[in-house]
Symmetry: C2
Subunit: 249 residues, 2 copies
């Protein structure tokens, strides 16, 4: 499994990805799932990957090959929309080559990608590209996208993140979302890659690679848990309809 | 879909269930999913249901019929273990009758049940009964069980609940778990039934039925969101490896 997420804000973009890959529980390994296609100063383009590793590696390699050729590439596409359309074409190209053979062994053809960045002249943009090569764009109302194991990490985003959040809050929020997912799904695991992009800078502002046993991570988990436990004191009393002897509670 | 959960503590039991049932998005209705088979003063037995409504109703009706007959019933079983074994038999009886016909129309035979209670002479106990009629018991290490849409509501339980929690904290925790689930899955919906059982009392201590637009629920959601947003101030700074100009963040 995988968990990657992208957060879009007025202030910029935050991206996070785990790095665990597994083929069954008895073959677990670590692969980076964040790929940088930026041209610092002119455009920032990041791709985060989920799905069958052979498929995502094929797509990334096709995209890289084009950088060294004449013609269309992630460095020449004029808009983030055209970047996604072009990436979608590469997904479909791999699909045509590999799906028939994979399906003979009942292996699903599955890949999903987060594409995030900003090209000079445009606003920062965040997209989710599906297995079929089509895609959707994050908006002010729904300012995040997730791929892989998406459910455990969604409530914290729903409650604590929105389009007006600061980059700092969004970065912490994405790490807590990742932590919630890693606690429940062992096929999502550290190291976690975190990237922070500030709008109109056209280069990554901050990045890091964090291990679950890193002192920061341990302290983040402890402090958050403590805060949640304290937060119960701020909640209203439950209006029980039937309370034989409230003093016993 | 459905979301039901049961929490086991030293202090007793907390149970919560939504009440939405749907057959597609264009046929949504409300059914109670909590069933009381207690004999106040002697035993408390509750069943929470998830799965195909016709199957869960069949199981509950078979269990009710036996209460009015001579012989085995939920009022005569000597232990919570035998209660679950007996409920499992009823699930298998419905399975034999209905599965072949359901499968002709490609409808899965699926049911899962939470069984919770205490019989005099025993400790409080909490079980999860599967479609196949087999079951597992909650323990001090893993003191909660969930059925239906389980993922969105799990992180809050992982972080804020344990076997030593008070009944009050556990009740609030289960409502927040339900709230996280209702925000993300429209097929889980209010009213929410909440039950609190204090150990060795052999009667339900407190219960209520809450609507999502109830002033309590609205205030709980607002206060919790506010507390989470404040909690970010207690988190450590992220140890970014690459920080070109931290003053700009």
């Amino acid at each position: 499994m995988t968990y990657c997420l992208g957060l879009l804000m007025e202030a910029g973009l935050v991206l996070a990805a785990d790095s665990r890959t597994n083929a069954g529980v008895d073959y677990v390994s670590s692969y980076r799932k964040v790929f940088d296609f930026s041209m610092p100063g002119e455009r920032v383009v990041f791709i985060l990957t989920s799905g069958n590793l052979s498929i995502t590696q094929s797509v990334i390699n096709l995209l890289r090959q084009d950088l060294h050729k004449e013609g269309e590439s992630l460095h020449t596409m004029p808009t983030m929309f055209s970047v996604c359309r072009y990436i979608g074409h590469k997904v479909r190209q791999v699909e045509q080559q590999d799906r028939p053979v994979l399906e003979k062994d009942r292996i699903d053809f599955h890949v999903s990608l987060i594409v995030a960045g900003q090209i000079k002249g445009e606003e920062p943009a965040l997209y989710l590209v599906y297995t079929q090569g089509n895609f959707i764009q994050a908006t002010e109302e729904t300012p995040f996208v997730q791929i892989g194991e998406t459910k455990y990490g969604k409530p914290i985003l729903d409650r604590a993140f929105n389009y007006r959040s600061s980059l700092k809050i969004a970065a912490l929020c994405s790490l807590l979302s990742m932590d919630s997912t890693m606690i429940s799904n062992l096929s999502v695991g550290s190291p976690v890659d975190l990237l922070v992009y500030e709008r109109d800078t056209f280069r990554i502002a901050q990045s890091c690679r964090l291990q679950e046993n890193d002192p920061f991570w341990v302290e983040m988990r402890r402090a958050w848990q403590q805060s949640l436990q304290n937060a119960f004191h701020n909640l209203p009393d439950i209006p029980f309809a039937f309370t034989p002897d409230p003093s016993r509670l």
